[in-house]
Amino acid sequence: MQAPASLPSPVARRRWSRRATGEALEGYLLISPWVLGFLIFTLGPMIASLIFSFTHYSMLSPPRFTGLDNYVRAFSGTDRLFYGSLLRTSQFALFFVPLGVAISLGLAVMLNRHLKGTTLYRTLFFIPTLTPAAAATLLWVWLLNPEVGPVNYALESIGVPGPRWLASQEWALHTVVIISIWGSVGGARMIIFLAGLQGVPQELYESANIDGANAWHRFRHVTLPMISPVLFFNLVLGAIAAFRIFTVAFMATGGGPAYATWFYMLHLYTTAFRSLQMGYASALAWIFFVIVLGFTIIQFRLSRRWVYYSGETSGREGQ
């Protein structure tokens, strides 16, 4: 890509290389906003937070170097909420990621059947993701109120005693899963699946039909492999989103009852902005980063076994 293999004459080469230099300069100029943004808002802060993570820093006095104290505090269990919040977050991810991916794929498959009124259905699926999370959360708090909420009223009128939802220690986490799924599956994630489904060549289904494949076989052996790249994309981003769960818990439960929804981000936020322990919060942020990074790397490794990149799309789009 960098230079043509053979060049006719030194003159042409000089002219060409001047052009190439000009082009490279233009390239750097164009991407310079990102380079600056990366240095100022990403790389710089990352290094800074690594340094802060080895200090005690309350913002009232200058940071004081304390070595590995913050990490010891987290991993030794001195901070009793550290492992608990990791566990809650993992439990949340364990439900949210597979369910979210399966439901948004299911919605996309249904919309891809060329039903009449597809636009209307798509809009109805989409509306929850258009609602600001803060508004959606307060709405659900009311809907699921154990005493006066309409959901439990409806359940009781058909003879099912409703759970106490967000107010119950066993149910709170699952309720946060339900609210988060409602608010996220019908949006861009579904559209990305739809894009993937529409990219599957029709001939593949036809030849599968000739081989006598039924609907499930077609889905399992044609659709799934062909959309595996978008499946992977949604899986990775879904997992990252799951680890970052915050707003619903912050507004609806405040982490309770009895820390049942005390997620990692809530722990980090409280440590940093309520207790003003910026050093320890930086350590929490770095631990979080390493976990998410490790998880993403594992997903990429595993993806080599099941993600199928078809050759014909790689022509112009190859990176």
């Binding site: 300069l25 802060p45 990305i192 990252i240 912050f250 980063f289 998410v292 789009e317």
Partner: protein, 302 residues
């Protein structure tokens, strides 16, 4: 399917065909029922919000709950503005969202154009870096960013929410825009280049009309993101006159409670929620075709 006699007569074939047609029709009916049921489940909470926003205060607390108000009134939509500085929250949200969306669209278009069209040493590596920041949870950089903005005296202003957007911090949009640009043949650029056009001519006059769906997609996604943002305003904004809608809704949460003595405020909250959601819904309706097309055509391949 019924077992066939040895000589397959025209009659059985016809019967089989009509049986298959009936199966397919049945399948479609089932599909319609399922899709409609699911769509209603997704829409029901929103529907509840609409009807509740039209209820009178005494209709909010009745039990069993009323689905439709007996005396629908738009009054709540006005009361909201008396109870909290809602107009101010609205204005703040509009200002932050509009400026950060402009920043995102302008900066990501330029950067994506650079990555898609210009050859320069280190391009592959830098682009991989862009992709990896897409997977970087923003929380890792949160605290130093907060301290940086504090040093700059930007806390409790809109600047921390707007300025970074002009530096293409939203990597996903760079990726989306670049993918889209890659689908446009270079012939267009080259023809313009022979006519002596510089890179900005090419970008703004030649490519911009062609990548419109991608730009609209990025604009909508970015608008929705900033409009709905909760964490950013929560961290950076403090005084009441600077709050956004997402944060301002908490005022209603703080106003009452489910205690028997508390005055119900759900009808107001629902009216406020509808008003906070309306721009997003309107935007989606206006631009839904472009938006869906933009994502589909960008050919996201993970």
């Amino acid at each position: 399917m019924a077992s066939q006699p040895l000589g397959v007569s025209a009659e059985t074939t016809r019967r089989q065909a009509s049986q298959m047609r009936r199966d397919r029709l049945l399948l479609r009916i089932v599909l319609y029922i399922v899709v409609t049921a699911v769509a209603l489940m997704f829409f029901a909470p929103f529907f509840w919000t609409i009807t509740s926003s039209l209820k009178r205060i005494d209709e909010v607390i009745t039990f069993p709950p009323l689905i439709f108000p007996q005396y629908p009134t738009p009054e709540n939509y006005l009361t909201v503005f008396d109870k909290v500085p809602f107009a101010l929250f609205y204005r703040n949200t509009v200002v932050i969202t509009v400026f950060s969306t402009i920043g995102t669209v302008v900066s990501t278009t330029l950067v994506a154009y650079g990555f898609a069209r210009k050859r320069f040493p280190g391009r592959q590596l830098l682009f991989i870096l862009v992709l990896s920041t897409m997977m970087l949870p923003g929380e890792v950089t949160l605290i130093p960013q907060f301290l940086l903005f504090r040093e700059l005296g930007w806390l409790d202003t809109f600047l921390p929410l707007i300025v970074p957007e002009f530096f293409a911090v939203a990597a996903f949009y760079i990726f989306l825009m670049r993918q889209f640009l890659m689908t446009i043949p270079r012939d267009f650029d080259e023809a313009a280049m022979l006519d002596g056009a510089n890179m900005f001519h090419i970008l703004f006059l030649v490519l911009l009309p062609l990548i419109q769906p991608a730009i609209i997609t990025v604009a909508i996604l970015s608008f929705l993101n900033h409009w709905q943002d909760f964490f950013g305003p929560l961290i950076y904004l403090n005084s009441t006159e600077n709050l956004t809608l997402s944060i301002g809704l908490r005022y209603f949460q703080a106003m009452g409670g489910y205690a028997e003595t508390a005055e119900p405020r759900e009808h107001l909250l629902m009216a406020a929620s509808i008003m906070a959601t309306l721009p997003c819904v309107a935007l989606f309706f206006v631009a839904q075709r472009h938006f869906v097309q933009g994502i589909v055509m960008s050919g996201i391949k993970g």
